[in-house]
């Protein structure tokens, strides 16, 4: 049994050590030779250069040695990668959904969470799904990473071998909040895992409006708790008086059903003062009218 945070750590790190060892050796030897030559054959000390004829044997040696080394490195790199492809049959499955700029994790039974919680020592296969652009799903501590490509069924697998919290990053550039598209994986004992899973709300128990907001990743730009992300929070929005720019002139409007509907379908029409056009795209054809109504009802509750 190896000791890394996942089953891949030991194999991958061994290849790293091999590569860095060989690199450091050549880097030091060649640099030392250059420095030695510069000192030893300095023009003051060595005014006349000695011309040297090409030596076939020498050249063949230094072609052959790198070829052998790189083939050897290829082999080790490949064999440590090989196990990442073959997913064990008994792996438990979690669906990872990437959306600008949030990760969500769908467990069996339609349960959705925004941190990835996993039981210790159990192989897990993550199915990677994107609903918009390419994202990258990376857990450095586990030495795994795979692009999350819309329309493609990419996946990864691993076995967590240490309990604790580990970072998850989005590694494929995906827009303004790319650097904030991170969360954590929490590895717990199987018992804690079962308890946790039982406590996760089934997605359909949440208010309908909230589900729509999450489904469309509105919450990537608008927070629900008053904190400022890309844009103003939804908290306390409904009913307040907003300064907006319409056709270049500033005016004040009360945030009501109509204003919110316009904001969703034509976000650049009544532009909130202080923002530039084009940050929020139109959700025409994406958020249906009854869904927009659900959003409005939900926003009313966010006092």
């Amino acid at each position: 049994m190896n000791t890394g945070a996942s089953n891949f750590v030991e194999g991958v790190d061994w290849v790293f050590k091999l590569l860095f060892g060989i690199s450091a050796f050549f880097l030091i030897v060649i640099t030392a030779m250059m420095i030695f030559f510069v000192i030893r054959y300095n023009r003051k000390r060595h005014p006349k250069a000695v011309q040297i004829k090409d030596n076939m044997a020498l050249e063949i040696t230094w072609i052959t040695i790198p070829v052998i080394i790189v083939l050897f490195l290829f082999y080790y790199g490949f064999s440590a990668f090989q196990p990442m492809i073959w997913v064990p049959k008994d792996a438990m499955k979690v669906k990872v959904i990437g959306k600008m700029w949030q990760w969500s994790f769908e467990y069996p039974g339609n349960k959705v969470a925004d941190t990835l919680v996993l039981p210790l020592n159990r192989p897990v296969k993550l199915d990677l799904v994107s609903v918009d652009v390419i994202h990258g799903f990376s857990i450095p501590a586990f030495r795994v990473k795979e692009d999350v490509v819309p329309g493609k069924n990419n996946y990864m697998w691993f076995t967590p071998q240490q309990t604790g919290n580990f970072e998850i990053f989005c590694t494929a550039y995906c827009g303004v909040r790319h650097s904030y598209m991170g969360t954590k994986v929490r590895v717990v004992t199987p018992r804690q895992y079962d308890q946790w899973l039982a406590s996760v709300k089934v997605a359909s128990e949440e208010p309908g409006g909230l589900q729509v907001l999450k489904k469309n990743a509105c919450t990537g730009c608008h927070s629900l708790d008053g904190s400022k992300l890309v844009s103003a929070s939804f908290k306390g929005l409904y009913g307040k008086t907003e300064t907006v720019v319409t056709n270049g002139t500033e005016r004040k409007v009360k945030v009501d059903d109509e204003y919110i509907t316009t904001s969703i379908y034509e976000p650049d029409k009544d532009l909130v003062s202080g923002y530039s056009k084009g940050i929020m795209k139109s959700y025409k054809g994406i958020v249906k009218e009854d869904e927009a109504k659900m959003i409005i009802e939900y926003l009313k509750t966010l006092k």
């Binding site: 891949f8 030779m33 054959y41 290829f74 440590a80 390419i134 490509v149 493609k152 990053f169 530039s276």
Partner: protein, 492 residues
């Protein structure tokens, strides 16, 4: 040798002799040496702009959180920084400046084959650059897609900059694959033909393939002239024939050849076929071999030479050192298991800056210090040049080496903000960036002081033909056909 192939009274190419005078004479010149300088000045201006953009990013990254501009601006700036550095400087750089200045002289010609076309190309280059700058201020602000413009994210940016970009790059590069790819993006946006956007039935990974099929060989397009410069500098300052002339020439061809088939190593995590992956991996490893051979030959040339450690040679040695680090860390990406860990992290940022800046950039600076006396007829201060070199070398390593370390720890690239554990490394990088900038300033001041003594025809004891002409050369390079030595780099 043919030291006196022309009359010494003849005015140098820097003196206006035609009907037009001053700036107009320069803008209408068809002399390859003057065109080289036009490129040199324009590249310098772009480099200063690109460099300042880079320094603002380093400053923004000094601490976690926002310092003085927001993520949208940051993303636009790293896109612009990459575009300027890659397309306006590194790809054309060495070839248009030094290729233009010395190549015709080296082969004993009075000018390039099509001098008017040569000038016209400079105008296209400036036009392309101008369009890039203008497109930053049209539409809804600058694109923020990164210089790779990965779809489908990129197909969501405004159309006009796209059209303009496409034209500009096609003009500058006239490179079919990238041209067609950009056209496909435009067609997708305009006519909703699905190539890359899955919502239209396209394949986003196809875009990546097309992009890298062009762009990986482009890296070799950038590095090969740099290697050529090093192969000029080392023999001169060691007063020795280049070791393994044939091996060096064949290695260049091998790099160019295999280089066309390794693009897939940019995409190991894209979910491409697992069978294709190992092929790309093995080819990536093999392309390292000819580069290694060149390094061995350069170092072997120094053996038993008569070495004069002047600034150009210092830059050449720095090139070899930095290029080795860039190359070795390239192997980390060739090896599948380790590439998964470093892909799309700061490690990659460090790796390609070591190759492109440490490699191509230092070769460019070496070339400037090498041919400067020939170009301007004056010497610079060696002492100040050495000091500038020290700042550049130290600053460079401080700037990029920490990025390898945080990259290994998982710090992704193109991040506006980062977790607190990466702060120390980011701060060292930022200081390194400032030290590098100081080095640049010292270097530029040294070259433009205009105080140096007059340069002789052959200050370094070079053996190629340009050193047989006075410094600076006359407008017509050779009044009588030069005597070409039977073998290049002959120091017998």
């Amino acid at each position: 040798m043919s030291e006196n192939t022309h009359l010494h009274e003849e005015p140098s190419y820097l003196v206006d002799t035609g009907k037009r005078k001053g700036i107009l004479a320069w803008l209408t010149t068809i002399d390859h040496k003057r065109i080289a300088l036009l490129y040199l000045w324009s590249i310098m201006v772009f480099f200063i702009v690109g460099g300042i953009l880079g320094e603002t990013m380093r400053t923004e990254l000094y601490k976690p959180g926002q310092q003085f501009y927001g993520p949208q601006t940051y993303n636009a700036i790293f896109t612009l920084h990459g575009l300027i550095m890659i397309f306006l400087i590194v790809i054309p750089g060495l070839t248009v400046v030094f290729g233009n200045f010395v190549m015709p002289i080296m082969i004993g010609a009075n000018d390039v084959a099509f001098p008017r076309l040569n000038l016209f190309t400079w105008y296209l280059y400036i036009l392309g650059a101008a369009i890039v700058v203008v497109s930053q201020f049209t539409g809804d602000g600058p694109p923020d897609t990164g210089w790779t413009f990965y779809a489908p994210y990129s197909t969501q940016t405004p159309l006009l900059p796209w059209a303009i970009y496409a034209t500009a790059w096609i003009q500058i590069l006239a490179t079919p694959v990238i041209g067609i790819t950009l056209l496909m993006i435009i067609a997708e946006r305009t006519f909703h033909i699905g190539f890359f956007d899955p919502a239209l039935g396209g394949d986003p990974v196809l875009y990546q393939h097309l992009f890298w099929i062009y762009s990986h060989p482009a890296v070799y397009i950038m590095i090969l002239p740099a290697m050529g410069v090093i192969t000029e500098i080392i023999p001169t300052f060691c007063q020795k024939q280049i070791y393994g002339y044939k091996a060096i020439a064949i290695s260049s061809l091998a790099i160019a050849g295999v280089g066309y088939f390794v693009w897939g190593h940019h995409m190991f995590t894209s979910g491409m076929s697992k069978e294709a992956i190992w092929l790309f991996s093995i080819l990536t490893f093999l392309v390292a071999v000819p580069s290694a051979i060149k390094v061995f030959n350069w170092v072997a040339t120094m053996y038993k030479g008569s070495i004069d450690l002047k600034p150009p040679l210092l830059y050449a040695i720095a090139f070899i050192f930095l290029f080795m680090i860039g190359g070795f860390t390239g192997l980390v990406q060739g090896a599948l298991a380790t590439d998964i860990q470093v892909h799309d992290t700061a490690f990659i940022v460090a790796h390609f800056h070591y190759i492109i800046f440490g490699g191509v950039g230092f070769a460019f600076l070496g070339a400037i210090h090498y041919w400067y006396p020939k170009m301007f007829g004056r010497m610079y201060s060696n002492r100040i040049a050495n000091i500038a070199w020290g700042f550049l070398f130290a600053g460079f390593n401080l700037l990029y080496f920490p990025q390898f370390i945080i990259g290994l720890e998982g710090m992704p690239r193109r991040y506006f903000d980062y977790l607190p554990q990466f702060t120390t490394a980011q701060q060292i990088s930022t200081w390194g960036g400032y030290i590098l900038a100081i080095g640049m300033i010292i270097m530029i001041v040294n070259l433009f002081r205009k105080k140096g003594e007059k340069a002789t025809a052959n200050p370094w004891g070079g053996k190629t033909l340009e050193w047989t002409l006075p410094s600076p050369p006359p407008m017509e390079n050779f009044t009588t056909p030069p005597v070409v030595p039977e073998k290049p780099y002959n120091y017998d």
